[in-house]
Symmetry: C2
Subunit: 264 residues, 2 copies
């Protein structure tokens, strides 16, 4: 029987992870939880993020998932252990797979991680990379998420902002870094733009891709092959907005979206 | 006895209203509630915004305020009547005072309102202005809040974004508008920049200023004069971040900040 996989994010960004998962394991059934009433997590505290993430994890567990993907860098960075101890099913975050992939391809052993303020402040990527003998420079890019949500994925303003953030880090602190990890699930949408902005010698690692690869590794991949499985989405705020914005991230229309309340 | 005034916002922006209030009524005691765990309201639904706003209003009422200022354009636009019916004290929002001021100074009877997506979608400013015989063009400027929070209040990127938003509206839809209403409490921080970007013939109305003037009109202004009153702030997320960011909006350091939880 195909697996039932739960995917959790603060909003729409995790749909880039879901998109990769559906390509790798099309027959699986997916339950996606977007905690849109509380987004963005990027500027919130550990305590607050953990509370919301655990409520969402419980909700998905009660709905029959056999694996949970925390498709949110901030929630993974701030609350991964809290989430893992709160549920019975195996939990995969986005940070370890991204760090693993970066370690596998870097020659200089120096990596830049672009992420939200909260992910950077947690230093979760730094720890994961240092454990693999890498040196990490973390760069908070708080304007990337609103620019992506404005739809300016190919826009001169976004390119200018990307230059400001990336030049700062690649010209100053991390001249010989040869990998850029996209440590936020919104960033894959501006990957082509970032490709033009960062030095050509730098490889871009998309943690959405690496996370999907990790899930395939953990599950029996054969179980995920066959006719396309079901996708149900749960949002804590406007279903209409989820449909509109979410489809951009997923790359195709979303049919089943249900409004849920996890504040009880 | 000096009045006790409650000021509510989704985050820090309402502190620009508080700043104006403290100048007008220095002796009053102020309780400021920043619902930072749920910010920003700008992209959330009516139902969600009303729920949070009412919880905050009840909290402030239980703490002894005699007037409530909803210093948040989105909450005023989406939930003003809900908030007013939920509490016993008089409630002042930010939209009516801003619209009143615009109507008082416009000669062409055409006004542009810059605001968040949710405020624009509600058309609350349009209604308030039309009731006063004005024609309103509403413009959503979703990148202004993150740019202000990034601290880029005098930055070429912010100026470029402002040009994109403002040129679109003043060169196309609203050529002969002579007033720009700042329909979001974050925008006063980029007022000098906006002054350079919009046509010189356009007057800028800051709804924070107009709201403070309205409160003075409703209260006995003499009661607010004298030695500076007390300010206590309540935040639903990180006190440290509130202290850091909030001080920029208020224009001076904030001493007393308490973490509160309104999700019960």
């Amino acid at each position: 029987m195909p697996p039932v996989i739960g995917v959790f994010d603060s909003g729409f960004g995790g749909l880039t992870v879901l998109r990769e998962l559906r390509q790798a394991l099309p027959a699986a059934d997916y339950l996606y939880f977007g905690d849109t009433a509380h987004l963005p997590y990027g500027a919130k505290s550990v305590r607050t993020v953990a509370k919301y993430a655990i409520s969402a994890a419980h909700f998905l567990e009660e709905h029959g998932i056999e694996m949970l993907v925390v498709a949110c860098n901030t929630a993974t960075a701030l609350a991964f252990e809290d989430i893992r101890s709160a549920v019975k099913v195996p939990v995969v975050g986005v940070i370890e797979p991204g760090a693993e992939r970066a370690a596998a391809i870097s020659k200089t052993r120096k990596v830049v991680v672009a992420a939200t303020e909260a992910t950077v402040a947690s230093h979760a990527y730094q720890r994961a990379l240092e454990q693999r003998g890498m040196q990490a420079t973390e760069k908070a890019c708080p304007l990337f998420v609103p620019l992506v949500e404005e739809g300016w994925v190919e826009h001169r303003v976004t390119e200018e902002v990307a230059h400001i953030y990336m030049d700062e880090v690649f010209q100053d602190g991390a001249r010989d870094a040869d990998v850029l990890v996209l440590g936020c699930t919104h960033y894959p949408l501006i990957r082509p733009l970032l490709r033009r902005v960062v030095p050509q010698s730098v490889e871009i690692v998309d943690s959405a891709e690496s996370t999907a690869a990790k899930v395939v590794e953990l599950l029996d991949a054969d179980r995920g092959q066959g006719a396309p499985g079901d996708l149900r989405c749960y949002a804590t705020d406007s279903v209409e907005k989820f449909r509109r914005l979410g489809s951009k991230f997923l790359g195709c229309p979303i049919q089943k979206i249900e409004l849920v309340d996890i504040e009880k």
